[in-house]
Each structure stands twice: as C-alpha cells, then as structure tokens.
Amino acid sequence: MLLPDHFEFICPARTASGAKALEHLPGDLGTLNARKPLIITDKRGTEKGLVGQVVKAFRTWGLTLGVYDGAGPEADMGTVKALYNLYLDRGFDAILALGSGATVDLAKVVNIAVSGRPEDLARCQGVDGLAHPLNPFGFIPVAAGTARECGGEVVFGDLYFNSRFLVPDLVTIDPRMLTDEDPLRLVSTALAALTFAAEAYAGPRNPFVESYAQLVIGFVFEHLLDEVRQARAEKRRTARLTEGFSLKKGRLALVNAACMAGYVHANTSPGLAARLGTAIGHRSALDPALAMGIVLPCVLEDHAHRQGCDLSRILRPMVGLERFAATPRPQRFVAAMARIRYLFNELFVLTEAVVPRTLEDAGLTRDALEAVAEAAAASDPAPDSPQVCRTILEHAFTGRPVAP
C-alpha cells in the first residue's frame, strides 16, 4: 500500500510497563536530570496506599519527594497557584501525576506554569501555543481514565492547551498501582482508546501511528470482555489476592492501550466518532466515551463506503494474524465492524444492559440527534457534514450498519 506524500510522528514519552516498573522511575527521572519530584494526586492516591508505593520505590535511591493529594474536579486556578508556589518554594524539579483525567490535567497546567512563568497559562493556550519543552513530567496511571492522559490536549476550566510538549516524558505502568475499578470505568476508558485508535486508520496512512493504533485495538479486543467479566465476578477480590499478578495482565494490557491511545491522539486530528461522542456527551447523560464507541462502526462504514477508504486492515489487530489472513479480503471490513458491534452486544449482556448497544438503548431521542449533528458538524470543514452526521446518528440510534 502506498504511503502518503507527507507524514509525521512524534512520541516523546518513555514507557515502562510491568512488574516493578516504579522502581525504574527514579533512574528514569535521573536521565532527565530530575531528582526531586512533586507527586500530584487525589485523595484516593493517598488513601489506597498508592503514594506509599511510589515513596517506597524512591527511598531505595535515597531521593525525597513531595506529595499533594488535593487534586480532583474541584481544583481551580487557586489550586494551580498554590502548587506553583509549593513547587518553586520547595525546589522541586519534576512533577509526577498519579491518577487520571482531571488530576493529570491539573498537573500538566501546573507544569506549564512552573516551566516558564504563570502568565504562560494565558499566553500559550490553543494548538501549538507552547514554544519550549516543559520541566520533566511523569505519569503513573491507576487503571481507568480518559485515554487522553498521554496525549497533548489539556482542558482545565476555561483553559485549553494542545501541544506535544504536554505528552508526558515518562509513563510508568505498574500493576501495583492499578487499583480495582468499577468495570464501567474500565469500559469507558477502553472504548475511548478504541475510538482514537480506530479513527487513526481512517486518516491518511501513517505507519508510525498505525504501529501504536494496532496495539491499542489488539489489547482492547483481547482483554476488555475478560476484565469486565472478572471484575463482576462475585469472588473477584479473593481471586485477585490469591492469583496475583497473572490476573492483572489484562488490566495492565488495557492501561497500556489507554496510554498508547494518548500517543495516537497526540498525532492525529480528532475523528468524527470522537467529535460525535463528545457532542452527545454534552447533550445527554451518556458517557462520551460510550457514545464514541457506539457511533464508531457507523463512522468507519461511512468512511469506507462514501469516501472509498480501504479500512479492511483494521480487522488484523481485532482477530490476530491467523484469523485475519484466513478471512477473504472482501469480507475483512464487514467482519471488523461486526467485531465492534459484537463487543458492544457482549458488554450489554455482561453489564446487564448498563452499557448500551445503541443510542436508543442509551435513552436518547431522535429529536436530540439533530442538535448533536449540528454541533459535531460545526467543527468539521466538510460541506456535506451535517447530513453525514445525521445519517451516522440515525444508524447508530438503532444499531443498523451503514450500507454501501
């Protein structure tokens, strides 16, 4: 397959994943010339003993670190100012964000302020507004999140930043930090990751982006259903304690998928499924990540049929090399879309109808779709976009595939 005339890629993060990954973190920070990191986390970070694990890993290196556990949805500019002062007054030289979503966004905003001047927060907003690399920044995930933590986009109150300098320098995925989660949050994370990765296939071909995207899709398809099944099993907690690490492999794979989806996100423009999902989230009670996943196959079908994109290779990470190769070429795309829908139907069964298969399941009305179509189309330059969005939403409403 031909490569496009021009393509780019960057992933500034160093990923360390697996057993005792935390113990590598002090050394990895050292390679960035950082010795005194400030951990930014929320109350769960301290209450569940997660911070303690990090402190222990640093103790063997004789390094000290600071801990702030007041992150959360209520954090505001006052919090940023307090952390800015704390960082400078105590001589910290790096930030470790421990958590997900809003915690990571707060930590990134603080890093913008401490790496330059506080005024940068107003001055450097928007796409590519940051001109210099920031101070060393590490991210320690704790199971579920938004799948954007490893990306370059940050939304904090009214502030918006989008820069490759906001991709973490170090990503440390340690099974000890992957706390037990509500299975719905795992599903939400995995579906956001799946959407970012699958939509990367719909853009111009980029072998660097696709290397990561296929891993995201592969990990989600291989592990999501099993993880949800296990998380809902009655004796799950006991099983985890007795069977230990091996049971965490699925969780570890899903967190890897979420982090890699962030790298993909930082290298691609937001796709239509992501924009439709966000618009649905703004106008209903449905989790935007679930909405993205529901509309995803319809969006990909629209790309394939209306725009003539060959997306058949997206089946490969879903089923593995063996089954991909065994599927005749003309059947591959249809099989891939069927796999995504099967994933949703299984989640519907496993969660006893809590995860919806369609927008109708999710309680949306047909009337609401029009406003969603308008909102998603507003951010798309294509002239036929509102009509395209309407068609996709109409199909996702009932779960009907978009026909060629």
Partner: protein, 415 residues
C-alpha cells in the same frame, strides 16, 4: 499481542517523512529556536549531489552557518574535534547530519562538544554523563539502512589509541529525523539492496530476540512489510520515488524496533566479519539473516512464522500450514537474496565465499573463519540471541554461510 512481564520503550525523535520533507527543515529548526545550522556530511553524499538538494531546500528559510563534508567512513575523535571548532567559529546554533551511520555518529559527537563545551569527548562516555539537552540535531539519512537517525548511541573511534568508544544517552537522540525520498533516489542498486537488508535484519532480529516488546514488534512488522513489498521493485526501478520513501520509512521503523529490543547473532557475526575482513555491514546482514532464523528456530518458531505474514503477505501465510511457516520465512529471505543477486548483476552476494574486493580477490578467506568466530564471541549482541552460541557454534554457522548451504539441523544447539 504479547505483553511481557516488563518492558520499556522510548523513541523521542520527531519523524518527518515525505517526498518534500527537506523543505520542512527551516520551520522545524525555527520551532527548536535555531536559525544557523551547520551541515555535517561526507564526500560521497556531496559527490552524489545530495548536499545541493539539501541546501536548495534550506536556502530560503535559514542561513547555513557552515558545511563540512569531510566525515570519514568510520567516525573519529579528531574529526569530531575539528568539526566542533568549525561550528564554533561560524556561530552555528544547530547541526544537520546528512548521511549514513558514520555521519550520524560524528554529528552526535560534535553536538556533545558544542553543547557541553571543551574538546574532551572522553569526559562524556558512560551512562548519565550527559545531563541536559544538547543543541538541536536534525538527522537526514541517505542510506535507508542503519536507523541511526532514531538511535541514542554514537560509536566514535579514537584512532590514536585504536579504540572504538560508545556514547549512550537519550540526549544523543536527534530532535528530528527527516526522511526524504530524494536522499536515496540515486543510490546504486547493490547499495540499495544491502542497506535495505541491514534494515530488514534490524526488524527481524528486533522481532525475534530476547528484549522484544509490543511496540518494537509493531514497528518491526510494519518495517518488514514495507521492505518485502518494495525492495526488489526499487532495485529494478531505482527512480521509484514511492518505493524509495517506503524503504526509507521502513529503515526508520526498524531502527525504532531494534534500538528498543536489541539484536542477536546476525549482528554478532556481521560485526565480526566487518571487523576482521572489512566487509560492508549490509552485505553481512543479508548473508547471515537466514542463518540467524535457522539457528534460533526451535526457540522462536511462532515469531518466525509470523514473519512470513509480513514477508510474503497474508495469502501465502494463510495457505502455509503453521509448522511450515518459519521455514518458509527463511526460504523467502534466501529467495530474496537470490533475486537481488540476479537483479544487481551479482553485486549482492549470497554467501561469504563469493564476496570479492575491488582487486577481485576473495574478501573473507575460509582460513580466517576461526578468527572471526573468536572475535564474535566477545560481541555484546550475542547476549540477546534466543539460543546460546559458543565458538564452535559460531564457526559452524560461518562455515555454512561461507558455502551458502543451510545449517545442518543436527548440529544446532538445543538449549
């Protein structure tokens, strides 16, 4: 998707690829706050007219502070010091390296001196010796093989002391790798084939050796697919710009794979034949690659089988019974070497015994194989090979590769 119990992956280099990627350099330098680059290259690159292509692409965007085209074929302390002086005398603020592995290594060395100050490169050997970002470094590869544009290592020779000194640091990674199809468009067919086989060996060993991880696997398979689909086509039609871009992209992907997963015995043997007999690296890689797979096959059966998917395509993979895939992957590489031999009029050697020098003499005399095996035993890459090798094993592989016959399965160690 195999997730190891633990893995690390890092490649911080920004990749900018395309048919007109060079024209992006002024903007890229601007975003790195540099405007007066020094270009480091070698006589071969300059002689092939590539330097003019680069300077032409830069002329409207930046002021070129200096151009140095005297990098030797193995980078050297003296040259590094001399080029650092040129950089300083001309008030440059960035380095653009245009060339193959030696140019890249030299440029990395120069960047150490001009960023850290002084003339003493030895002060910056060893882990952790470099502690801060260096000056902006833009790498423009011209061989589609080594992957040096995405590696954090520079090997620089101190010819006075007869030593090769490795430098390793994340700060040595170029800021940007610019992959432009024009840079390889004029490569002769046999250099194209050998450098691409170097990249293929990076990808294949990256996929099969002990430090593999999911990201290096994904990059490796992409690289192998691109090489297998384009190499012979490009050798037969050197002006194929799309094929050139595919091969150059594959070399970078392979560099990303092997620099994170390490390489094994194909490189062990290749380094040693290079050191003892001065054979070009790519030639050695092409010859030893099938032997590496054969020797390790009992340890890497499924992985080697998966290589067939990337090498021969999904249709061949699907029709080949699982237990035959690994052997078919080896056969595919041997057939590719044979096809390249024919397409280059015999200048792409298939076995050690048929490599000749400019004087027409055999370059690797059979009598020197024991010496090569001894040198190979001390090469660090041997530790990442799936199956162990002692001197006898190395010699057994060398003998087979000299004659160009498959390994005798009965003589392969099964540890």
């Amino acid at each position: 998707m195999r997730l190891p119990d633990y893995y690390e992956y890092c490649c911080r280099v920004k990749i900018v690829a395309g048919h007109d990627a060079l024209e992006k350099i002024p903007g890229l330098l601007g975003s790195l706050h540099a405007a007066r680059p020094m270009i480091i290259t070698d006589k071969g690159v300059a002689g092939a007219g590539l330097l003019e292509v680069v300077t032409g692409a830069l002329q409207d965007g930046v002021t070129i502070g200096a151009v140095a085209d005297e990098v030797p074929s193995d980078s050297d302390f003296k040259v590094v010091r001399q080029l650092a002086r040129v950089y300083r005398q001309n008030d440059c603020d960035a380095v653009i390296a245009v060339g193959g592995g030696s140019v890249m290594d030299t440029a990395k060395g120069v960047n150490i001196l001009v960023s850290e100050g002084g003339d003493d490169l030895m002060a910056f050997t060893g882990a952790g010796a470099l502690k801060k970002r260096l000056k902006p470094l833009v790498a423009v590869p011209t061989t589609a093989g080594t992957g040096s544009e995405v590696t954090l290592v520079a090997v620089i020779a101190d010819h006075e002391k007869n030593l090769k000194i490795p430098f390793t640091s994340y700060f040595l990674l170029p800021d940007v790798a610019v992959i432009d199809s024009r840079m390889t468009l004029t490569l002769p067919d046999f250099i194209t084939s050998q450098t691409a086989m170097d990249a293929l060996s990076h990808a294949v060993e990256g996929y099969t050796c002990l430090a593999k991880n999911p990201v290096s696997d994904a990059c490796a398979l992409e690289a192998i697919s691109l090489i297998a689909a384009n190499l012979l086509k490009v050798v037969k039609n050197p002006g194929d710009r799309d094929g050139r871009l595919a091969l150059a992209t594959a070399a970078t992907l392979a560099g990303m794979a092997f620099s994170n997963s390490m390489v094994g015995m194909v490189h062990t043997l290749g380094h040693s034949v290079g050191a003892v007999c001065g054979v070009p690296h790519g030639t050695c890689m092409a010859i030893f690659l099938p032997y590496g797979l054969e020797y390790n096959m009992h340890k890497i059966g499924d992985d080697a089988g998966e290589l067939l998917f990337a090498l021969a395509g999904d249709a061949v993979f699907a029709r080949t019974p699982r237990d035959q895939r690994a052997r078919k992957a080896v056969a595919f590489i041997r057939d590719l070497n044979q096809a390249l031999y024919e397409a280059t009029g015999g200048r792409h050697p298939r076995r050690l015994g048929e490599i000749t020098g400019p004087d027409g003499k055999v370059r690797v005399p059979r009598a020197r194989l024991p010496e090569i095996a001894r040198v190979a035993r001390g090469d660090a890459s041997i530790f990442y090979n799936p199956e162990a090798l002692d001197e006898d094993d190395l010699l057994m592989v060398l003998e087979a590769a000299w004659e160009g016959v498959p390994l005798d399965p009965a003589r392969i160690r099964k540890g």
